[in-house]
Symmetry: D4
Subunit: 178 residues, 8 copies
């Protein structure tokens, strides 16, 4: 299971994770969430659902997510980023928010708009631009009740460790005075 | 027309300004918006409309605002403040956002969550805790098509000037070496 | 009514919106406000009015705006951005402030200089660099007393929705594992 | 299911959620996470696990969490807050991070230290001081594979809505000019 | 010349320094500027001049400052603090800006609104709440062409040194293990 | 007197303004201060004086500035910018600080390190990268006791006004719908 | 070796650590550095050395520190905090900087003024208000060449661990549903 | 001893300084620490040790550092930067932290994650990207008990001074009006 994402055949079956974003311009950031799901064989769907431009469809998406069989929602948005919080308001599912950095403020506005939710309506926020981690978090959430997936996550963590250890060799060789 | 707000008989007639907030705990900040409307004899209504706790009623409020005859909406919210932007998504009316400061971050999260709206859906943002200015801005918006109200705003500005000039006397007297 | 601006014949008639900025270097940001007005057929004017370099002409512009028949003023400025607030001090009209980002601080100085106005003198602040939203907010303000313009804004919001929905198709096709 | 937490008999059974913090001084913030679990009848455990003062026990806690049968870990920490991220490094479970505000910087350091995790090791971050939301997020995560818990969360959301609606009456009565 | 200010008889003669502020509520911060002038025998005047509430009088104050014989202007303001910059626009005199901290943001908005002036119109900005330093800076500016005042400033600096050295004795005695 | 700087013959006579910086890498920012002095015929000198790399020479520069006949010191520095404040500690002259932006933090560290001086030792701080304004402020300081220079500053302000007014024509022509 | 500091007899012998601060008002923050040294039996001295009020004595202190036999310097300062960096410029010893929080900005100005030193002149910066850690860091530095002190630090770390573990009992008992 | 680093033969002998980082992508920043050690003939080692990807090896590295004979550890990390603090938790040695700037937030997250350590576990933090200063700080720490190294540091400081003085000539020649 490589550390970086790459295209691969879509996992089969009904989607368990819904990945949504406010605009297709967010896709270059958000596709890493899809790739992470694919790496673990977790079926997902991806769509544009804008809180500000299609609010009814957005609420409908959130409200239908649980009855439709989704188990986790990942929502990416930037600036005054309302999508993750609004979806969390209408679904009992865990919602993961990805702060997408825009042209100004380096994503700090996106982060605060997503993470500072009022008591009662949590959003599981990841780092600015951290869509890959959003996908991995979705896998962990599913793995909490899925022993095979938990084993796969443990294997992934082993692979991370091995990759990090391999990087040490390069630095040990590159150090000028070493 | 005094500079500071105070209770007074409600202006009669159908409300022209809707003042909403996410929780009754925002009222101590938001009542200054109501007082400003009252000073200018502008009928208004005030209510709790939570984006995260009652999203359907929130969208319904926004969608009905224009048909019901409201001309301006003022929305106050704190933290991941989504109410002003979500209302702006479903009404053609101008929406004024008041960033309510919460326990942490001094309102910076509220400000960025309200002001950094994406292109297409503007929110007219005032200062952190600036509910009085939200009320005055609503009056200016109505005054743009109401000569009598415009005259009242000009008179208000004259009164502001007079009050500021009077303050000078106090400072001139207080200066230790003056 | 397309979502993005483009040159088009000027709306005829006396200007209803005044768009001003501190320097012609702000025009590449501010022209989106003009384009938004043009899309809705709202006559406007655009000019350079510098608070710091031509303060008398600036105050005169602000003071004459209402008698001349303008109904909304849009002012863009960067850094220690004083233009929107100073205009708001001398006109009863609603003033919309656009924080123009400069070389440093990513527009945070511009935003705070515009939005944090003292009680009594509101400025309707939009996002950093959000000139298009400033134009749309001006249209909403005019639409508050203009049923035809309100209908146009509702149609615009429908178009926004349709455009956002169309974007979903692209993302659904692009998802690697979908 | 009341919106605010209160002491109640402990849910019986093996703990499903582990709530840990760097010091007992974090407990006044973190107990709201425990209360949220208790409201939903979710068995939990609470303990002090310091990344910096007892690193071996901390890693052991993280490593044993999954084999011991925990399904979610909630970790609160302040300042250079390393506990949530370090636990996430050694468990395949979802880890929820609560930024605890300390004496200076209002929790901004805690937030960034928790949320800005590198690719590969996600932490589900909630708002500054948002321990109640951490508990609710843990419930949502468990509910993703537990229909009864999902129904309880839906009921909770209904109760939130009803409580918010009730607050409107108070504001409608309090508005001075209403 | 003591380090801290205290009331004393006003220096006689025509004022050389004009100390202005947007409201009498700024006086508790700004009086330290007056006291510093008084300590050096520099005649000054103090007044309320509000950029937003009395813009004409403000510009007149700025424009008359030089002809009236003032040599330095000190202006304190908070939030969207426009007073120092607007005065600098209409006088050739050096203008010193004091960022007055308001209820929110700890003076950061005041600082950026004052210091980030565009090229052509400088404001000599001191620290947040630093009115005493504003007064001392005015004295230095006058001293640049006034040998007696320069000697007084040198003596003041000697006194600062002596006071700082005396503080060492207290710390040397207080150190628990010293 | 053009608004932008350009090389010109050096003003003759003993320097009245000392322009110093921590490294020659600051010169591309700081030369605008020199150009502003030259525009007004104010003799100046420019040099590298590093607080951290040549502290004795730095203090000697500061201490000799007044006896040597300098009347104003301009100091530019970046990051933990200590030069302006240290010079202000050893001279009775007004010291103008220019926050030079470095590779990270966009000059915010430079600004705070310069402007937040303790009571007793003021630094007249200009905007981030605002070396031209530092030069103009030095001219204003000298002009406070020099009627001819004050007239030149008034003429400069007239030229600024004329240049700003000329820019309006370009915007009026460029507006797409105007 | 208790985790928190308390007065105790001064360690005997020539001081190895010099603890300095800009004013005696910094002592309530800085005394924790002294207490940490005392806990480890490390002789120290404490004094007021102001960069801005007694620059010559400050440089002399820094320059004499090494010849006098000091091995580490701890310097606390707030606002535009120049003391740690200036001392580092004139001594070959390691200098530890403590950002002291002042009335505004919560110590962020102090932190940036201390930590953002230019290449060539490092300051070992600890947390805002982190004087105890400054003392412990000084002990670690001395322990790098002192096996007995290194053993004492290991014992201290064991005590930290034991204290943290003891805190867990309290939380386990306090958890309402545990 | 030149001010800037360059490759040179490795100092012989057992390493006294351990330079570690979370990924080989940090090496372009961190190699300046190695170069500084090499300039002073201080043997060092460089390696990748990731807190989040290889936590056991990371703790083992920290725990073995002192018994293996290392005297100082330099750790660079970015974002939620936990490596320096976690190493400091398991070694009695002084740990120097280098905040590595990542794609967003300009290193502010890295800085706060490293410097804001809790009482008991200090990290000696240098500037954002300040790896060269980390190396120099390590040399100073070793020099505290090594007279020859202290002399070399004094010589280095002399060289810094000479280089800074030489830069003055360039500025004196470049000033347009000088």
């Amino acid at each position: 299971m490589p550390e970086t994402s790459s295209a691969r055949p879509a996992p089969r079956g009904a989607p368990r994770v819904g990945i949504v974003m406010g605009s297709d311009s967010d896709w270059p950031v958000m596709e890493a969430a899809a790739a992470a799901c694919a790496e673990f064989g977790v079926p997902y769907e991806a769509d544009v659902v804008s809180a500000h431009r299609m609010p009814d469809a957005m609420l409908a998406y959130g409200r239908d997510a649980h009855p439709r069989g989704l188990q986790v929602v990942i929502a990416g948005a930037g600036g005054a980023a309302h999508l993750p919080g609004m979806l969390a308001a209408v679904t009992p599912l865990p919602v993961i928010g990805v702060p997408v950095p825009l042209k100004h403020l380096d994503g700090m506005d996106s982060l605060l708009s997503i993470v500072q939710m009022p008591a009662g309506v949590p959003v599981a926020t990841v780092s600015i631009g951290g869509a890959r981690n959003a996908g991995l978090l979705a896998v962990r959430i599913l793995a909490a009740a899925d022993p095979a997936l938990a084993q796969a996550m443990l294997a992934f963590q082993d692979a991370l460790r091995a990759a990090a250890e391999a990087k040490g060799a390069r630095v040990r060789g590159a150090a000028p005075g070493a």
